[in-house]
Symmetry: C2
Subunit: 402 residues, 2 copies
């Protein structure tokens, strides 16, 4: 089941509501990344507490370990990881693509060696759909090729980007067909009278590719729209391109995505990127940044980023952000204490930092939802940049004094 | 402030109540070990939830990192680690002793090289008291030498054990004197009219040494009693001796400890050891076993130990113990899932296992307290051994089938 309600707009920014088999998600929203079936350092309870309502699972990693048989036996990914709310899974395409020289991309699919045990494996659109069906994710993604920004210093040419985009389109159709055969086809292909029969089906999203070329992006979107999907993602960004290219493609593609379907910007990004994405009309985001950075002592706050491992916090009694209501900050855990925990590799150090960063990200999304509702999104954006630029304790905004 | 009320006895087993500056502790109780100011993988909130009411901090580790200045600036160890309930700190003696050839024990104290940066350091009874005073632990331990069971294959002789015990006695007196000078002296040395003035002082425990020789243990206890302490610990057990020696010394010393003061068995042990200790009249226990073993996939349950990494649990949908009410078990996290998390080094795998093991240990203590209250401790012990011997799913009780 997938229903997207567009509740309110403010400029291009959208306030929506996504109803999926495992619950309702208020958009725009950020989805924490649960690579191996767990958002690193977090429990499901803590995820709920920081405001998460949909998380991402990595098809590729779960396929390799523990494998779909186990997860299916445990009741799908929700039963396995005890997350009762919606889950989106990627297709595995990005992970096999990231293997670089260890993989070979052909028309049929991608051949590669397992990074776990060297086994020769093949991932295809059909196999990706089979896995995501077994995981029973609320939103499955089509198997695609992520067009690189550059390869060994050579920028991807228009021809290369076009060939890659066309391959992704053919894979998108195969993904859709395979998804349908699994009893998961998009209702757009079915008569209204059969809606009751398909109520518990999961959703399938297409992914717009086309590299840094706006006309290829248009062509990709047109092809995907013709095939028909429940939602649309922008892929192939945050892959090493300059920020201005990212912004250019985002601002070109986002407003052209179908108005009454959810829009997902994949693998992006910083708090500034989230604000930029919402301003362009994006509803869903995911990124490892808040969780990975937390474990490395990089904290996001309303007033800029705080590099926890800097010596200046050695005996600082203040929480990460005195104005924050997360368990780490409201619980009174000091910068000195969390720095100490991270220095001596105590798990609680990673935990408190992760709780804070995810709480910050999800609160930021909540604030943007409220601003759109009240028609004050532009004011919010202005204040957001002023606040973030202030710096923690008057640090330089880019944190370079650290 | 330290008040020990002996509420009820059942055989040698004691049901008591310990009132300390940071709260009341129902005894007998197990104290989770928070080496670096955090019980590994746990948050303070989770510690409360599993039933912990007093935790242990390691003076030696906290002295080296982050140092007493920082902790004092943060309001002592309670302010630093945000644990509002009582804390007991060891003296650092056991840790410097464990450095082996890297340390040199003299009358004045122990010289050693810092395992962090090689700095040449000296730990003395006076320094240990100063550190524990700065940490503001509710219960400080005297600085002592832990008499080894054997050294390079040679059993400790009676002469060696006696010399070691006498040194510990002299250090115990110096510890008491230094503790008093810090304004922390035991009220036993003061008039009843001054009780109000000393209400917020912390407690200091003596440690009975004497190796495997009961007469030396008696001598140690007599010396400590003469000096005067708020409570008494049995040290120098679980240092490599055969179980029967441990039991012999425990059963000899425990009943001889002062009746109206708390009794603490240091660094022990397995669930069976806890039951044996309570039966002998012990009130307080600490051990790294439940936390360390959890991270290695060794789970304690009512029906025996479960080795989580065994292939047989690969797709097992059951929680660690279906009858357990901890977050890991009642939350429905399966053996399959926790095994997977530990295999892929997800922090949540260590967390769920630790929560379960500590919950098991603290529930075991709760059950023993109830049994003593109702005068059914011996029945409890019988049932405990039957249950533990049953094995998880009819495994062989020693878990050897794993």
């Amino acid at each position: 089941m997938l229903k997207y309600e567009l509740l309110k707009t403010d400029g291009q920014a959208r306030r929506g509501r996504l109803t999926l088999n495992h619950g309702t998600v208020e958009t725009p929203i950020f989805m924490p990344v649960g690579t191996y079936g767990a958002v690193k350092a977090m429990s499901p309870r803590e995820l709920e507490e920081v405001g998460a309502r949909i998380i991402l699972g990595n098809t590729f990693h779960l396929w390799l370990r523990p494998g779909t048989k186990v997860i299916q036996a445990l009741g799908g990914l929700h039963g396995f990881n005890r997350w009762p709310h919606p889950i989106l899974t990627d297709s595995g395409g990005f992970q096999v693509w990231s293997l670089g020289k260890l993989r070979k991309i052909e028309e049929h699919g991608v051949h590669f060696a397992s990074p776990i045990n060297g086994d020769r494996l093949l991932l295809t659109p059909e196999e990706s759909m089979r896995i995501q069906h077994a995981l029973n994710s609320d939103i499955a993604m089509v198997f695609d090729e992520c067009t690189p920004y550059e390869t060994e210093g050579q920028l991807t040419t228009r021809d290369e980007a076009e060939r890659s985009m066309q391959l992704s389109l053919r894979w998108a159709r195969r993904s859709r067909d395979a998804f349908e055969q699994l009893g998961q086809g998009p209702s757009i292909q079915r008569g209204g009278d059969r809606d009751t029969l398909t109520e518990d089906r999961n959703a399938l999203f297409g992914i717009v590719q086309g590299g840094m070329f706006t006309d290829l992006r248009d062509e990709s979107l047109a092809g995907l729209t013709e095939i028909g999907f429940d939602g649309f993602a922008i892929g192939g960004l945050s892959v090493g391109e300059p920020k201005e290219d990212m912004v250019r493609i985002l601002n070109h593609v986002a407003p052209r995505l179908p108005q009454h379907k959810p829009r997902y910007l994949m693998g992006v990004g910083t708090p500034e990127d989230l604000v930029r994405g919402v301003a362009a009309g994006i509803d869903l985001f995911d990124c490892v940044l808040p969780t990975r950075n937390a474990r490395n002592g990089w904290l996001f706050t309303r007033f800029g980023d705080l590099k926890l491992r800097n010596a200046r916090w050695f005996n600082d009694p203040r929480p990460i952000d005195p104005g924050c209501s997360c368990y780490a900050c409201a619980g009174g855990f000091s910068r000195a204490y969390i720095q100490h925990l991270q220095k001596v590799n105590e798990i609680l150090g990673a935990r408190l930092a992760t709780i804070h960063n995810l709480h910050y990200y999800l609160t930021l999304m909540q604030e943007m939802r409220s601003a759109i509702e009240t028609g004050t999104f532009q004011d919010f954006v202005t204040r957001f940049h002023v606040d973030r630029g202030r710096g923690v304790d008057g640090d330089r905004p880019d944190g370079s004094s650290d």
